[in-house]
């Protein structure tokens, strides 16, 4: 169908629940013909809408390459993506859900590090003494690099992490981490604490629209509807 509007919704987790709730509140009933595991869906009574359930990171990439028109994902993931991707996406609405912060965390025992300025100093000493750089494990290499540099921390290297980032200082793969947290309890449970001024980005659930789809009148209507009740 020519005017089909394709919408990406996170396939798992908190974000998925929050998005489904937003649809419900605006009286849009989502249907999955083959049950909960079906990765395609539709909206009752709206033949021109197709729902696709995807990983939250992929939703952003698919918006940029135009295979989705609208998508729901975290602001953190958008800001982490490459500049060419960000250029093609507009944040249409921020929701008060999925609130979380990307932070810099160090082992509790690093009592000599209080601020990013301390970290800057330790990073230089570390390089001088051990002839290698302090390693930061993260799922967010771009945001981390940018933030560290803005705080004067230049002597570090990035270790890309896929998950369970919290344990990497204790498994020998890094000295510190940056990670997304909402309450800080996972960090605390893993013997980590947040550096005093180590707050990189506040994130929340967003409705994003591919810039080339912005002109579509039907999509505009839908986007406005989904921005009213949440």
């Amino acid at each position: 169908m020519k005017d089909l509007i394709k919408i990406g919704i996170p396939s798992k987790g908190r974000l998925r629940k929050d998005v489904l709730n937003i649809f419900k509140k605006n009286k849009l009933k989502l249907i999955s013909k083959r049950g909960d595991r079906d990765l395609f869906g539709s909206v009752k009574g709206k033949k021109n809408i197709q729902i696709i359930y995807l990983h939250a990171r992929e939703i952003i990439e698919r918006l940029a390459d135009k295979s989705l028109d609208m998508g729901f994902s975290g602001l953190d993931l958008l800001k982490e993506s490459e500049i060419n991707i960000q250029k093609n996406i507009k944040v249409f609405k921020n929701y008060p859900y999925g609130k979380a912060t990307l932070v810099v965390a160090i082992p509790n025992d690093f009592i000599d590090i209080f601020s990013m300025a301390d970290l800057e100093e330790v990073a230089f000493e570390f390089k001088d003494k051990k002839k290698r750089r302090l390693r930061v494990a993260t799922k967010y290499p771009n945001l981390t690099r940018e933030f560290f540099y803005s705080k004067g921390v230049t002597q570090f290297s990035i270790v890309k992490s896929m998950g369970s980032t919290e344990i990497s200082p204790f498994t020998g793969s890094s000295e510190l981490i940056t990670d997304i947290t909402s309450t800080g309890s996972t960090l605390a449970a893993n013997n980590l604490r947040i550096i005093n001024d180590g707050y990189i980005l506040k994130s929340e659930l967003c409705m994003m629209v591919g810039k080339s789809s912005l002109k579509n009148k039907e999509l505009q209507k839908l986007a406005k509807l989904l921005s009213t009740k949440y």
């Binding site: 160090i106 082992p107 509790n108 025992d109 690093f110 009592i111 000599d112 209080f114 601020s115 300025a117 301390d118 800057e120 100093e121 330790v122 230089f124 000493e125 570390f126 302090l134 390693r135 690099r145 940018e146 560290f148 540099y149 803005s150 004067g152 230049t154 002597q155 570090f156 290297s157 990035i158 200082p169 204790f170 020998g172 890094s174 000295e175 510190l176 005093n196």
Partner: protein, 348 residues
């Protein structure tokens, strides 16, 4: 065509001063650059992997390629060299070209530093004669004076190192000065919480390693920090001295006088002789010669004398030549010894 002719003329001028032409590789190992300039430099380089997994990049500037050549060929003693070609760098400013045409000349491995500084400036001035311009400025600075000043100030050693490390990053350096004026390094409420951990750590074996750092190392730094606090009032005074130092700008023949006046006023035990500067005439051909203390900021690898030449051409001021001393660069790239280096480049 016109610029090709011009670059040929400049190359001839440099050659006539006794420099030897060398060829430089277009592709170098990215590791060298990232090790020297840190992760953030990745944003500027064009890098790729070869079949063995080594990361390579297009040379982001010719100086690095030339210093690597000196290092990798195990060269010793004095070399006077020049080179020309393209350097490739991504820019955040969309209008900037990613390709820069450079002509560079350098004196490497020579201990006659003062004379070499002069020779590089003189070679730049001679090459400049090939350019058409109505007037211009030769600005001279020296990072070393800043280093000496910092060493004489009353702040914790940690802060001295910090200020030196970030002198070349203007925005962050200003942030540092602001911080020096205001808050202290230690937050008493946090220290209270950390006391418990501190007492626990004291009981443990200091050689135990936690996340890459030994307990001994952590405790030692914690201890120095506690014993070496800094009061906001002293910080304010120091910051004021640094700020007023960075405002000094005058014709070159007044440089020593102005600096000594400043040192005396602020009770800093330093004296500079006019002979310290590579030039003492205020006018060289069509150029006004100025001394500036803040010049040298934004240029990371310079360690001593720095200079730049801006000329007025078609009623616009353009920077055409810049250079200075970078004694730390070759050792940063991996040399065991410190190798003196001074050079300049024409950007066409």
């Amino acid at each position: 065509m016109k610029s090709k002719k011009l670059s040929e003329k400049i190359l001839r001028s440099v050659k006539s001063k006794g420099f030897k032409y060398i060829d430089l590789p277009s592709v170098i190992e990215a590791n060298h650059i990232v090790q020297r300039s840190g992760e953030n430099f990745r944003k500027f380089i064009f890098s790729f992997n070869d079949q063995n997994g080594s990361e390579l990049c297009l040379r982001p500037d010719l100086t690095i390629a030339s210093c690597l050549r000196y290092l990798e060929n195990n060269l010793k003693g004095k070399e006077k060299i020049f080179y020309s070609g393209q350097a490739y760098r991504k820019s955040q400013n969309k209008k900037d070209s990613i390709i820069r045409n450079q002509i560079g000349f350098e004196i490497l491995g020579s201990k006659d530093e003062k004379n070499d500084d002069k020779e590089i400036i003189n070679t730049s001035l001679k090459s400049l004669q090939n350019l058409k311009y109505s007037s211009g400025t030769l600005t001279i600075g020296n990072v070393e004076i800043f280093k000496l000043l910092i060493s004489k100030l009353e702040i914790p050693a940690r802060w001295k190192l910090r200020l030196l490390r970030h002198f070349w990053r203007e925005d962050y350096f200003n942030d540092l000065l602001k911080r020096l004026e205001t808050n202290a390094d230690i937050d008493p409420t946090v220290v209270e919480v950390d006391k418990r951990i501190f007492l626990d750590l004291l009981k443990k074996d200091p050689s135990t390693v936690i996340a890459g750092r030994s307990i001994g190392e952590i405790l030692k730094r914690f201890d120095t920090k506690m014993k070496d606090p800094r009061t906001a009032s002293k910080g304010k005074k120091v910051s004021k001295i640094i700020r007023s130092f960075l405002k000094i700008k005058c014709p070159i023949n007044n440089a020593a006088k102005e600096l000594n006046k400043f040192f005396k006023k602020n009770k800093i035990n330093l004296v500079v002789d006019q002979k310290y500067f590579p030039i003492s005439a205020n006018k060289v051909s069509k150029l006004n010669v100025m001394f500036s203390t803040s010049f040298g900021e934004q240029l990371e690898y310079y360690s001593g004398m720095v200079f730049k030449i801006d000329v007025k051409s078609n009623s616009k001021m353009v920077n055409c030549c810049a250079g200075g001393r970078y004694d730390g660069l070759i050792s940063d790239l991996g040399s065991q010894k410190k190798i003196p280096a001074v050079g300049a480049a024409f950007n066409l």
